[in-house]
Amino acid sequence: MKSIYMDHAATTPVDPRVLEAMLPTLTQVYGNASSVHHIGQEARKLVEEAREKVATALNAKPGEIYFTAGGTEADNLAVLGVAEALKEKKGRHVITTGIEHHAIFDSFLWLKENGYEVTEVPVDEYGRVNPLDVEKAIRSDTILVSIMHANNEIGTIQPIAEIGAITRAKGVYFHVDAVQTVGHIPVDVQSMNIDLLSLAAHKFYGPKGVGALFLRRGVRIKQHLHGGAQERGLRPGTENVPGIVGMGKAIEIAIATMREEAEKERALRDKLIAGLLQISDVRLNGHPTERLPGNVNVSISYIEGESILLSLDLQGICASSGSACTSGSLEPSHVLLNIGLDHPTAHGSLRLTLGRQNTMDEVDYVLNVLPEIVQRLRQMSPIWPANLIQEK
């Protein structure tokens, strides 16, 4: 059976050109980038080249890029790092939204439990933040605003530049979780007035286990790991040279091909959405236009997400859902609840995220098999109206 992978927001396959760039660092240029000898210095050179590529992609300076072990670590370092650095000097008030990725959401939860005051600015039914709400929430003791660039579940893109203009004018640090957007839509830390930004290589066809934090020059944060002088002491530990080199190559390719990839994904996305909305009692989750090029998220009434995923998987299609069964807890996705969905609607969510290898034929295949799956599961479901009528 052919595999159709439509879960690119979860992770992407490594681009063969990225793998090719990484391989020599495992067996030939295996040196510790901190070593004085030539094998170490060759590794150092590769790390610094990768740093330049990441900086260029974000319109930052190489000295503002700190490599981490992934997006979650970069998010934690940014949020907790600013909070700890400024709690005595300026205050303990922080601002975020209720639809952040758990790496941010749970970091703010930790702050709340540790003497910080957290304001969650609201989002509308599409998951969009109103920049004016951010402006209203900022106080004299506000030390950080953290808002994601685009949502990992519903794909909604936030007005980051507008929010950045406000935080800059108010003199408050602005962190952006750009894990879903770097390499997919334009990110510019200068024009967007971003002070800290997180990214992860495996979301743009790089390897897992490597990410980066952009930290604007002059922004002081407190480190969390203690060890060596790597990454200017902010993130000690021997550099993950293969990962970093892979990330550099991946971001270079992603930026070079971004425009055409986005255009292709948008066409696939829009066809998929239009086709899914042909099925009765299906709603689109997220913004109709301010939306990641590859993101499709719908709720299918009367059925539950995990059984949709299992049924799709049996047909070779890889997707995801925000139902409780797939969140690993008893609650469905906080993102879907926060945009106002009730529990059953959130349980019936289906996310299909497109990428480089997807084709129109694959979209057609999904649109061909999904109505049958929905029909089968609805016929099983005691909450499907047809089944309710029959009962009494």
Binding site: Y302, E304, E306, A324, G328, H343, S381
Partner: protein, 125 residues
């Protein structure tokens, strides 16, 4: 989700799926908020379950456990059927992932509710 082949088989080909018109007893557990609803229909003659059908809203485990339960109790007396536990259902399916043991393994509870429903009607007659 790490499901056994038996779970997947029952999910793909549920046994005794559907409704029984004028059932002797109907039992339902769960709710749409938590994401699982299991409904069991019984046809009972002389205290024997002569037919059983189910409908389930929920995850793969929810569907498979209800399907398996109907197979386990069909043809049994009510007393025998009441001895079937949620743990028995999971065991017959070759086990369930730990997170599924509680939230999605309630089919035996739905059966108990259906039998109570039947007995209530009996007393009322």
């Amino acid at each position: 989700m790490q499901y056994t082949d038996k779970v997947l088989d029952h999910f793909q080909k549920p046994r005794n799926l559907g409704q029984i018109p004028n059932a002797s007893g109907v039992g339902e557990v769960g709710n749409a908020t938590c994401g699982d609803i299991m409904r069991i229909y019984l046809s009972i003659e002389n205290d024997v379950i002569v037919d059983v059908k189910f409908q389930t809203y929920g995850c793969g485990a929810a569907v498979a456990t209800t399907s398996m339960l109907t197979e386990l109790v069909k043809g049994k007396t009510l007393e025998e059927a009441l001895l079937v536990t949620n743990a028995d259902v999971a065991k017959e399916l070759g086990g369930l992932p730990p997170v599924k043991m509680h939230c999605s393994n309630l089919a035996a509870d739905a059966l108990k509710v259906a039998i109570e429903d039947y007995r209530k009607h009996q007393k009322g007659e």
